[in-house]
């Protein structure tokens, strides 16, 4: 019961989606399944939030190292949740001013909008922006041409980096566009590297991944792979 029912559910649902591709009359089943899936996806957020609360509460109650930061995380979590769920500062829909809950939950000027604009945006964007510094550092320490493969990678990267500037293409502006040497213009070399060599390499990887996805999916739908059910 604990394992058989989920496996049967997975097989039926999965094969409905596959067969819908080939049998148009069952497309409406597919639409309902996908709709329920879309709705169910919202519970993943709730599950994530629930896990976050449980983990941090445990950290606090056990007085683990850094438990103070868990308090801050929980305060930020609950604060954002409260202002968002209660629509604090959200003006009503301009056509229905008597309905106080009718406004957009992220309306400009609301508390939730403030948290998004002035807390979430700077934190999220700066977290990723710092990677630029580490790229500079890694380029100095690790990007070495010690063999043919690494040299090829390095030369390609340098050429594309030059071509991705404004002045790079100007370096070969002296070559006329209609000349037989036009392929040596920086922008054309970049075009060849990106549109030809990058495409063929990525395509080979893509074909490999596609085969991997197909086989993994089939294993799940046929009940061969049950790892998602966990132990017990």
């Amino acid at each position: 019961m604990k394992r058989l029912v989920p496996i049967v559910i997975a097989s039926i649902v999965g094969f409905v989606l596959i067969l819908a591709k080939f049998i148009p009359p069952i497309q409406s089943w597919e639409e309902n399944v996908v709709l329920w899936f879309d709705i169910l996806a919202v519970f993943a957020f709730v599950l994530g939030g629930g896990n976050l609360i449980l983990n941090h509460l445990k950290k606090i109650s056990d007085r683990q190292a850094g438990w103070g930061f868990s308090v801050i995380t929980l305060v930020a979590f609950l604060g954002t949740l409260t202002v968002g769920l209660l629509k604090i500062g959200v003006p009503p829909n301009e056509k229905y001013l008597d309905y106080v809950w009718s406004g957009d939950y992220q309306a400009e000027g609301s508390a939730f909008w403030w948290v998004f604009s002035y807390v979430y945006v700077p934190l999220a964007s700066t977290m990723f922006a710092t990677l630029a510094f580490y790229i500079s550092s890694a380029a100095f320490r690790a990007f070495r041409a010690n063999n043919i493969e690494a040299s090829l990678l390095l030369m390609t990267a340098l050429l594309v980096l030059v071509a991705q500037t404004s002045s790079g293409p100007m370096l070969t502006d002296f070559i006329p566009d209609d000349s037989s040497y036009a392929i040596f213009k920086v922008e054309n070399i970049k075009g060849m590297l990106v549109n030809l060599f990058n495409t063929l390499g990525t395509r080979a990887i893509m074909i490999g991944i596609a085969l991997g996805v197909v086989s993994t999916s089939l294993k799940v739908l046929l009940g061969v792979d049950q790892s998602y059910l966990g132990g017990d």
């Binding site: 029912v5 496996i7 559910i9 997975a10 999965g14 169910l40 996806a41 519970f43 993943a44 957020f45 709730v46 599950l47 994530g48 939030g49 930061f69 801050i72 995380t73 305060v75 930020a76 604060g79 968002g84 003006p91 829909n93 056509k95 001013l97 309905y99 009718s102 400009e108 403030w114 998004f116 604009s117 002035y118 807390v119 979430y120 700066t126 710092t130 630029a132 790229i135 380029a139 043919i148 090829l152 990678l153 390095l154 030369m155 390609t156 990267a157 594309v160 980096l161 991705q164 030809l196 063929l200 395509r203 080979a204 990887i205 596609a210 799940v220 739908l221 998602y228 966990g230 017990d232």
Partner: protein, 295 residues
């Protein structure tokens, strides 16, 4: 006092003094807003909303200085610098910013999911009358409840059972449904878009003639490289044959071609990462410190 502490104190004082001059001279971080009054003619009820306006319009009639939004810009600047502070070394300010980020981002997704999906789809369809009287007043009055929505609701509740101390296995049913939809969708889409169509796109003529019947060397070379290059890369990934002899040479070419691919990927990644940093620097210099004026 340690020398490094002394240096930090001096730097902080200089930065503070500089910021003060930016605030006094250039109104650093200041945000101005204009009101918009909405009035319901039937009930006479009116509500005022505020929208940000460019600094250039700050002296226009009705435009006001917004303390809350100005504070927001300063809070943004603080968090930006707090995250950057990690570059100097791990520190408490960074850890606080990181903790707030984790909490706020999880809650943000939950709130959006709650209003967009839970209330908008579930409650809106299951209890249209309630929705109409509260958060969706524009809903048509003759909409009847869609009881089919109870099914995903039940699955959702079973899904959350995972958080309970006992009976966690109940969540396996909706989990199986979830995984099956992913598997079913991806099997078809990957097979079609990333396998069949990719092979079809690689089936190119090796000898190409132009419209006037002349031999097109460039297109022929391009197509030949695409076809044989893809095959060489695939050979490298084909492990059922030992990579020796001819297969070894071909797979060697495949590695070289893949290295070019990764080189392109690296260069584009570099461009991408610097762009993100430029975006933040633009915020600090222009939106916060008002260098070069604001918009």
């Amino acid at each position: 006092m340690k020398q490094s502490t002394m240096v930090w104190i001096i730097l902080t004082v200089i930065a503070g003094a500089y910021l003060t001059t930016r605030v006094v001279q250039y109104h650093a971080g200041a945000v101005y807003v204009a009101p918009k009054v909405m009035t319901d003619e039937e009930s006479g009820r009116s509500v005022t909303t505020w929208s940000q306006v460019p600094d250039l319009e700050k002296d226009s009639p009705g435009v006001e200085f917004s303390f809350v939004r100005t504070l927001g810009i300063w809070v943004s600047a603080f968090f930006t610098l707090a995250v950057f502070s990690f570059l100097v070394g791990d520190n408490v300010i960074y850890k606080i910013a990181e903790s707030i980020f984790v909490g706020a981002s999880a809650a943000y997704a939950m709130v959006v999911g709650f209003w967009a999906a839970f209330m908008g789809i579930f409650v809106g369809r299951l209890a249209p009358q309630f929705s109409r009287n509260t958060f969706m007043p524009s809903l048509e009055p003759d909409v009847s409840p869609n009881w089919l929505m109870l099914l995903p609701l039940a699955m959702g509740i079973m899904f959350l059972w995972r958080l309970m101390p006992a009976g966690g296995w109940i969540s396996r049913w909706p989990l199986a449904f979830f995984i099956a939809v992913f598997a079913g969708l991806r099997l078809v889409s990957h097979f079609e878009a990333d396998f069949v169509v990719q092979i079809r796109s690689t089936l190119l003529p090796l000898i190409v003639f132009a419209a006037d019947g002349s031999f097109n060397l460039k297109a022929s070379l391009w197509n030949s490289t695409m076809v044989f290059g893809t095959l060489a890369c695939l050979t490298y990934f084909f492990f059922s044959v030992e990579h020796t002899g001819v297969a070894g040479h071909i797979s060697r070419v495949g590695i070289y071609l893949l290295m070019i691919t990764f080189g392109v990927g690296f260069a584009l990644t570099v461009m991408s990462r610097y762009s993100l940093l430029i975006g933040r620097m633009n915020f600090l210099l222009k939106e916060w410190l008002h260098f070069g004026g604001t918009v």
